[in-house]
Structure formats: structure tokens, C-alpha cells
């Protein structure tokens, strides 16, 4: 049946042009596919919890395609950033997220847009899942005025409603996240804050101060450690006396999750969100994940780990491949469909890169703007006593 369809579509392609043929395949396939399936997911290790997230996850076709699209978009966007950086169109810091897409996609799938999220500097993925367009992200990386922070923030300082960046100081975002959770509790709005940090930041003292206060005051905060096994060039064994990051909250319950499986992340985050919203206080999740790139664009990423290790993760645990294979083997979508999505994403990323390369830089008059918020305009000293610049802060 499939071969016959393929023959017909090929013929149509040749006769009428590509699109007609493709449409034939899609409209025929829609009726054939499994609309929903249940998958076994890895059991999560638990700390101070009697029960954990379920061992099975339901996935609808639409959800699957959406998660695939999200992860693939982040992947392609990060690879495009890599390319632009090597062309010196992006400069400064650039910390790429490829390999970790399942974390961002899985978390966003289980929280509400009205919930809050804050992370550290490896933030492009979350900036996207929290609603900023690829265009605005890439243009911010290239420092143009069309960027989400008008070119003033760069890679580590992108913001959106209910998304607080993008933070450059390792670990500083954790007390901030606990504070956002305090605001949720104070305002009684049933919202929570997802506060992310890495295995490197897990040893910062301010995290333990935050854990203490969050537990004391039962703040609705999900602390999530994205353990990608390396803090810059230092492996977890060389940095932490205990690498059970999900237990490091001591009196705070914890779950260790397979961060390469978007469904596992989704179910665990749902579980954690329910925990917070029911007033039980904070919870810690450790997502075991991996980054393909080095720490940043100036790190080839192979002096402290082997190429074999990277390759092994790519072939055996890639989050995008895993989802795709699951859906294909359960007849939830077709290879062509995925290809179409890929093509579409490539096109979007290419257009965004075009914009990011051609958009002008912010004008010099903008240099000193927004030193203060909601402030009357003020005069700012330039590089010498006679140079007076203006700082305006529009609301």
C-alpha cells in the first residue's frame, strides 16, 4: 500500500510539481496513523518520597509531533548559532544546548505558560520554549536591534514574560527563582517557579541557602539540576563529593530523571508541579542529560572527555532520535512527515539567520538607555568629561 502511494506521489510530483505530491502523501497518511500510544519510561530514583512519577507515559500523535518540532527547532537553532559564531557574526559568550533539548521541551510540556522559569547561561533552548521567536533569539545573539533585548543583552540575558533569563553568574539564579516562587505564594495565584541550575552550580553555597528558605516557607519552587556530567571542564566526580544531585537538598524530596527522554522529563515535571501546587513545598529534580558541544564556543569539548563518549551518546541516547523512533515504530507518523518538519524548521532557522545577519545594530543613541526603569531621562557621562550621553527609559 505504501509503495503504491509512493509511486503515485512520485508521479504526481513529476507531473505537477513537488507540493501536490507531498500533499497526497500527507492527507492519505493522516487517516492511517495511530492517534495515541503508551510508552514505558525509566523509573525515577526517589529521595524522601514514597511514590514517584508513573512508569508509563501516554503520547498522542499531535503531542509527539509538537515535541519533535520543538526539540528539532532548538537543535537547528543552536547549530546555526555555532555556524554564525565560527563566521564571527556572533561574538562574546555562546553556550549551546544541543543534546539537552528533551529537558526544555519536557518541562514546558508540563507547566503552564503562566508558571515561571529561570535558568543560567545555557539558555537559548528555554528562551525558545518560553515563547521568544527564533528570529529574536538569533538577532539577540548577533547583537542587533531586532533582538529580544534590543541587542543589549546577548546570549546570557534574554527575557520574556514569566521567563527571567539567562543569568551569567553561576548559581545566582537559584535564590532568584526561590524569590519568584515567594512572589507566587505571596500573590496566591497557584503559579510555581521552575529554577534550573547545572551540576557545576550545584556546589554553590547560595543554593543551600535557597533550599533552606524554600523548605522553611514551603515555596512553590521546582529546583531542577541539569546534570550534563561536566561543569565546564570538570567532571562531576572531580567536583562533587556526592554526585547524587537529587539528594543534595537533604530535607527536600528529590527525583532523578532520564533527561534524554522527553516523556520521562514531562511526567517527572508533572509530578513535581503537582507536589508544589498542593502546598507541600519545594522539590528537586535531577535531569541526567548531555551536551554535545563544549562548555562554550571557545571550548572544543574534547580535552576533558573523549570523542567516543560524545559519539556514543549521539548514537544511543539522542533525545530527538529517540522520540522519532518511538513514533515511527508505533506508526504514529511517517518518515516523510518528519522530513517535512525538518525542512520547514531549516527554512525558518535560515530566515531567522538572514534577519539576524542583516538587521542593523542598535544605534549609538541607544547605548545608555534603560540604565533605570520608568525614570525621567538623565544625562550620562561618556568616556570623557565633555561627552554627555542621554539615558531614556521608556516604560
Amino acid at each position: 500500500m505504501k509503495t503504491m502511494l509512493a509511486i503515485i506521489s512520485n508521479a504526481l510530483c513529476r507531473m505537477t510539481g513537488r507540493n501536490a505530491g507531498a500533499r497526497v502523501v500527507v492527507s492519505r497518511s493522516f487517516a492511517d496513523f495511530t492517534p495515541q500510544a503508551t510508552f514505558d519510561i525509566k523509573k525515577c530514583d526517589l529521595h524522601r518520597l514514597e511514590e514517584g512519577p508513573p512508569l508509563k507515559a501516554e503520547l498522542t500523535r499531535d503531542q509527539g509531533l509538537q515535541y519533535y518540532r520543538t526539540m528539532q527547532t532548538v537543535r537547528r537553532m543552536e547549530l546555526k548559532a555555532d555556524q554564525l559564531y565560527k563566521q564571527k557574526i556572533i561574538r562574546g559568550f555562546c553556550h549551546l544546548y544541543d543534546g539537552q533539548e528533551a529537558c526544555a521541551a519536557g518541562i514546558e510540556a508540563s507547566i503552564n505558560p503562566t508558571d515561571h522559569l529561570i535558568t543560567a547561561y545555557r539558555a537559548h533552548g528555554y528562551t525558545y520554549t518560553r515563547g521568544v521567536s527564533i528570529k529574536e533569539i538569533l538577532a539577540e545573539l548577533t547583537g542587533r536591534k531586532g533582538g529580544v533585548a534590543k541587542g543589549k543583552g546577548g546570549s546570557m540575558h534574554m527575557y520574556a514574560p514569566h521567563f527571567y533569563g539567562g543569568n551569567g553568574i553561576v548559581g545566582a539564579q537559584v535564590p532568584l527563582g526561590a524569590g519568584i516562587a515567594l512572589a507566587c505564594q505571596y500573590q496566591g495565584n497557584d503559579q510555581l517557579c521552575v529554577t534550573l541550575y547545572g551540576d557545576g552550580a550545584a556546589n554553590q553555597g547560595q543554593l543551600f541557602e535557597s533550599f533552606n528558605m524554600a523548605a522553611l516557607w514551603k515555596l512553590p519552587c521546582i529546583f531542577i539540576c541539569e546534570n550534563n556530567k561536566y561543569g565546564m571542564g570538570t567532571s562531576v566526580e572531580r567536583a562533587s563529593a556526592s554526585t547524587d544531585y537529587y539528594k543534595r537538598g537533604d530535607f527536600i524530596p528529590g527525583i532523578r530523571v532520564d533527561g534524554m527522554d522527553v516523556l520521562c522529563v514531562r511526567e517527572a515535571t508533572k509530578f513535581a508541579a503537582d507536589h508544589c501546587r498542593s502546598g507541600k513545598g519545594p522539590i528537586i529534580m535531577e535531569l541526567q542529560t548531555y551536551r554535545y558541544h563544549g562548555h562554550s564556543m571557545s571550548d572544543p569539548g574534547v580535552s576533558y572527555r573523549t570523542r567516543e563518549e560524545i559519539q556514543e551518546v549521539r548514537t544511543k541516547s539522542d533525545p530527538i532520535s529517540m522520540l522519532k523512533e518511538r513514533m515511527l515504530s508505533n506508526n504514529m507518523a511517517s518518515v516523510e512527515e518528519f522530513k517535512e518538519i525538518d525542512v520547514d524548521i531549516r527554512k525558518q532557522v535560515e530566515e531567522a539567520a538572514q534577519f539576524a545577519t542583516s538587521d542593523p545594530e542598535p544605534p549609538l543613541e541607544d547605548l545608555c538607555n534603560h540604565i533605570f526603569c520608568n525614570n525621567p531621562p538623565l544625562e550620562v557621562r561618556g568616556t570623557n568629561p565633555w561627552s554627555k550621553l542621554k539615558s531614556v527609559s521608556k516604560t
Partner: protein, 330 residues
Amino acid sequence: MAASLRCFLRSGKKAVSALGQREFHKSAPVAAQVTVRDALNQAMDEELERDERVFLMGEEVAQYDGAYKVSRGLWKKYGDKRIIDTPISEMGFAGIAVGAAMAGLRPICEFMTFNFSMQAIDQVINSAAKTCYMSAGLQAVPIVFRGPNGASAGVAAQHSQCFAAWYAHCPGLKVVSPWNSEDAKGLLKSAIRDDNPVVFLENELLYGVPFEMSEEAQSKDFTIPIGKAKVERAGTHVTLVSHSRYVGYCLDAAAVLTKEGIECEVINLRTIRPMDVESIEASLMKTNHLVTVEGGWPQFGVGAEICARIMEGNDRLTASGRRLSSRRGC
């Protein structure tokens, strides 16, 4: 009979005092002697009442009534939600306060003294001060960091540092240093209403000092604009520029010097950043002589900045300045 009479008298007394209170607000005595502590307390009380997003957090601010009793009575009035005792975790609770500000609340974060703010200084500078700029205005941080700053009485070096110069160095922060009760109340109210991070430097030795507060200053809407200095005493021979407790020293010195025929103009900076250099320049056009007086160390201090600006500034100024400060280490 006696009991009911007593009851009547009691209720009557309540009625009379209530009446008295109403009249007190309607036509207050012309001026009153109010300590700096009470002025700060009033400012916070009024702002807590005015805007429910305002809350106070810090060590001992609630049940202890404040380490220096500045927040006395506030916890009893507003409760656990609005007046929050924190564990001894400056970096943690300063960060929590900044996060709460980012998410729409208006926290007052108290440091027991600003010496302890050094533990949290990353949150003040990198998370609070720089965020509005880096986000191109998308993310405001309406927070006040307040507490006693500078020298106290015999508390030793670790508890006596003045942080005016440290914080005033950073763009994105407003740094305020009140002297008397009117300053304290008006500037704290402005700081709380400001949508930007404000470092509010008090002085422990001033807390118990009473100052006259005008009728206007006692009203609930009395604010003093941040960024404007005040000429406390007009003069013609020399300009004394100071902030916080040392304004008092300057006025005392002026009283001594006037007997020798030297008239000092005393300027109370009130705000360190943004500094009101125009007021200093205007004064120097008259006097042509500048002395800066501060409690901090001289090197790279507030006085150094004032001297530099005067030296660089307006070409018509021929004044040169001298700095008075606490003893330089080395």
C-alpha cells in the same frame, strides 16, 4: 455603680482619645521632635499600608522588632506574610528579595548592617543593578536594600565600613544616604516607590537622635526626590559637602567658624548616586572653596569623586577641594 462608672469613664476615655487622635491628624502640631528610627518606621508603615506589594524581609525584622528596633511594631500590625524573618543567609535572602521584585512585588531587604551586604553583593550588583539595562527595559527590579552603614561606636573594623563609594560606583543603582528624620522618611518613601534598585544607607548612631519634623513632613504623602541635594546652611566663604551623620558635624563646625567670621555653606548630599553636582557647582561659584566631609575611607571615596568632578567640570570654577574623612589605612 462604681464598676459601671468605671466602664463609662473607660469608654469615654477611649472616645476622647479617639477624638483626640482624629484631631491630631487633622491639625497636627506645627512641628514635632521625631527620632530617625521613628521616621524610618513611619515611612515603612505608611508604604506597607499604601501598597500591598511592599514587604520587609531581613534578620530579626519581625519578632525581634528589628535588630535596632527600626521595624518595631510592624510585625504585630502586618503579620508573617509582609514582615519576614530570615535565617542568617544574606546571599540567599538578598537573591530571594531580588527575585520577588522581578516577579512583581516591592521588597524592602534589610541588611543588619551593610558590612554583611558584602556576602550578598553579587545579588545587589549583578542581579539587581544591571538587569534593567541588560534586558533593555524588559525586566525592572523595584527593590530597596536598607540598613545601617559606616561607623558605629566601638564595634571594630569588620562592623564599621562605609559602603557609599562601593555601591555608588555602579550604574543601575541609586544610592541614598539620609541625615535627619525628614531625610530618612522622605527618602525612604521615595526609594520604596522607585521602580529601580535603591541602596539606602542609614547610620546606627543617628537612629536615636531626634530632629524636628515639619507638619508637611509628617503627612503620608511626604517624599523627597532622589538625586537632589539640600543646602542646610547658606554661607559665602567655604562649601562643606557631606552626607549622613557628618552633615551634623559640618553644621557644628559652621557654628564654631561663624564666631571667627567664616561663613560655611553646608550641603547635605542626601543622594550619592545620582549625585547632584549642579548644587555643589552653584555653591562653589559663590565660595570657591570646597571641603568634603565623609565617614568612609578617603581613597577612591565619595569626596574623591566630588573633587574629581569639580576639577574636571565647569571652566569658570577655580575652586580646589580638600577631603576630610576617616583615617586611611595605608
